[in-house]
């Protein structure tokens, strides 16, 4: 069976969920061969094997942490040349897309970004994308070269499918461009203990209606009662009430959870672009005319300062 390269997104060996989802999709079109780079790369093998990787190609070098993107492109290209895969799948993070794009030019291939689903087709893998703030769904494929496809988080269920997952060292010779962009300092983001926004099953978001940084605790309390991630509109982020990393929308994160709860958010097109594919959408807004109500499965017209705390209390009571 044809091999499919899967680029592994991991933090010191802990594989992030979107990569496990990619392994599920990869198995629809071939045998997954994973590529894990950087510190802790070898520690990814067990999780990858459990989810279907027949092989895990690993390599660590200081370059991956010290320079931007290009060392990883060099390594993925080395893996591509070693394996001659039928397709290359990469998680659709900002960095993942850049790595995939540069690889595509190097190997003379087309690229599809932000796929939300993937199937085998007569003329190669067929990718589903959502366009124009998720108001259209398209099916596309790569017409030239080896398909390079980046896939959004939450695009497939994670399935266990134990495979050999034999670790092999990948031989990488860095190009002379690898050290072009130096990372001179790095400040890791502090963990909030809440689920990762793009991976969460439930997202609770607040907007301009929350009216102040101090009031975001209302949103956080609701999130915590549901084990949810916290999101924010750009208006709330621009006002400095919540960090930009939590922004949902076109220029923030795009989320596709089972449940999305928007409080004090009007539902501008750029916000909808990031949450419209959520399975169930709930909104709380005091303006009955707010466009967000066009999207909802359930909406409450009311003051969030009344509704949200009552909801949180009720959830806590029901959960006992």
């Amino acid at each position: 069976m044809a091999e499919v390269l899967v680029y592994v997104d991991h933090v010191d060996g802990a594989v992030r969920k979107p990569t496990l989802e990619l392994l599920t999709l990869a198995r629809r079109i071939g045998e997954p061969v994973a590529v894990a780079l950087g510190s802790g790369a070898e520690n990814t093998a067990a999780a990858l094997a459990e989810h279907g990787a027949v092989k895990v190609l690993t390599h660590d070098a200081a370059e991956y942490a010290d320079y931007l993107v290009v060392p990883k492109v060099d390594a993925l290209q080395a893996a591509y040349e070693a394996v001659s895969p039928a397709a290359v799948l990469v998680p659709s993070s900002a960095e993942g897309k850049e790595i995939a794009a540069r690889l595509a030019v190097r190997i003379g291939s087309g690229i599809i970004t932000d796929a939300t689903d993937l199937e085998a087709g007569d003329e190669g893998p067929v990718a589903t994308q959502s366009a124009f703030a998720a108001s259209f769904t398209t099916k596309s494929r790569v017409a030239k070269g080896t398909p390079v496809i980046t896939v959004k988080p939450n695009s497939a269920a994670v399935e266990a499918a134990p495979a050999a997952g034999a670790v092999e060292a990948l031989a990488v010779a860095f190009s002379d461009k690898a050290t072009g962009t130096k990372v001179t300092a790095r400040t890791p983001r502090e963990s909030t203990g809440r689920p990762e926004l793009t991976e969460a099953a439930i997202v609770v978001s607040g907007g301009r209606g929350v009216n102040g940084a101090e009031n975001f605790s209302i949103i956080e309390n609701l999130a915590d009662s549901l084990g949810a991630a916290v999101g924010a509109s750009r208006a709330a982020v621009d006002a400095g009430w919540y960090p930009h990393t939590n922004q949902v929308g076109q220029t923030g994160k795009s989320v596709s959870p089972q449940l999305y709860i928007a409080s004090g958010i009007s539902g501008a097109i750029q916000h909808r672009a990031g949450m419209q594919t959520s399975k169930t959408i709930v909104a709380i807004n005091k303006d009955a005319e707010a466009p967000i109500f066009d999207l909802v499965d359930y909406g409450v017209v009311g003051d969030l300062f009344d509704v949200v705390p009552q909801l949180t209390e009720e959830i806590k009571t029901r959960k006992g």
Binding site: V105, T137, T181, A185, L226, G299, V301, G302, T312
Partner: protein, 261 residues
């Protein structure tokens, strides 16, 4: 020595309009007004600030797009860019990201550059890959997705706020930079800026000017193929209740019914 800055700007259908696809599955540009992609305004703004800090700099704005794309160039010129290049050719219709980056890279090389500044993503395709593709093709460092950028003594520095960390980056010119909408509000064109822009030079190049064959671009030469585009079915009207004291409890009841609690 003058710092030559090229800003890539895309002409896109207005996101607040009723965007859809044409019969050949390319973006329908006739039914919805076009404009300079809002995220490229941030690129123009940062280029202007870099130029203001330099002893001597010249900003060229560059677009690949149909006739109307000149509007995007005019807007950028009225913000303060010095001159513009419009790559326009009927054979470009339907070009994908790999093809667009080929055309942009050839045009940038022909124009001459020390620094390329792009937006973080277009507001229609939203791929966010063209800047990295340009760096790859031009063989220069990429310093992308910056929320802060500066250039001094031939070195570009910036801050990239990623998912797991915030990074300080540094590269020697020539380089490709892309900036996010966190980099600082874009200025509005002044009346004077708009008047002056009308007199600024706009050059037009076609594929032959860039030594690109027609079959390397356009729908036919595309590296990707769109097979279908379907409108998402409108969501069935949801339940909407007015809070009369029990709104939170009613919502909890709904969530419990959906097994979220």
């Amino acid at each position: 020595m003058s710092l030559r800055i090229v800003v890539t700007v895309k002409y896109v259908p207005d996101a607040t309009g009723d965007r859809h696809f044409a019969d050949d599955l390319t973006v329908d540009r006739d039914d919805v007004d076009g404009l300079l992609s809002e995220l490229d305004e941030y690129a123009v703004e940062q280029a202007l600030q870099i130029a203001e800090d330099a002893d001597d700099a010249e900003i060229t704005v560059l677009t690949v797009g149909p006739e109307d794309a000149k509007d995007a160039l005019r807007k950028a010129l009225s913000m303060g860019a010095d001159k513009a290049i419009h790559v326009e050719d009927d054979d470009l219709h339907g070009t994908d990201a790999i093809g667009t980056s080929l055309v942009l890279a050839k045009a940038i090389e022909k124009a001459g550059f020390d620094l390329v500044v792009s937006g973080m993503a277009s507001t229609d395709g939203t791929a966010g890959i063209v800047p990295a593709l340009l760096a790859e093709r031009l063989g220069v460092p990429q310093v992308t997705l910056l929320s802060e950028v500066s250039v001094e003594d031939g070195v570009v520095k910036g801050r990239r706020d990623g998912d797991s960390a915030s990074e300080q980056l540094e590269a020697s010119l020539p380089a490709v930079v892309s900036v996010t909408d966190q980099s600082g509000e874009a200025r509005y064109p002044s009346f004077k800026g708009i008047m002056v822009a009308k007199k600024k030079p706009v050059q037009s190049w076609d594929l032959s000017d860039l030594d690109i064959e027609a079959d390397e671009v356009g729908l036919g030469g595309s590296w990707t193929k769109v097979d279908s585009a379907t409108e998402r079915p409108a969501r069935t009207a949801g339940t909407i209740v007015k809070d009369e004291g029990e709104g939170g409890k009613q919502l909890a009841e709904f969530l419990a019914g959906q097994k979220f609690i």
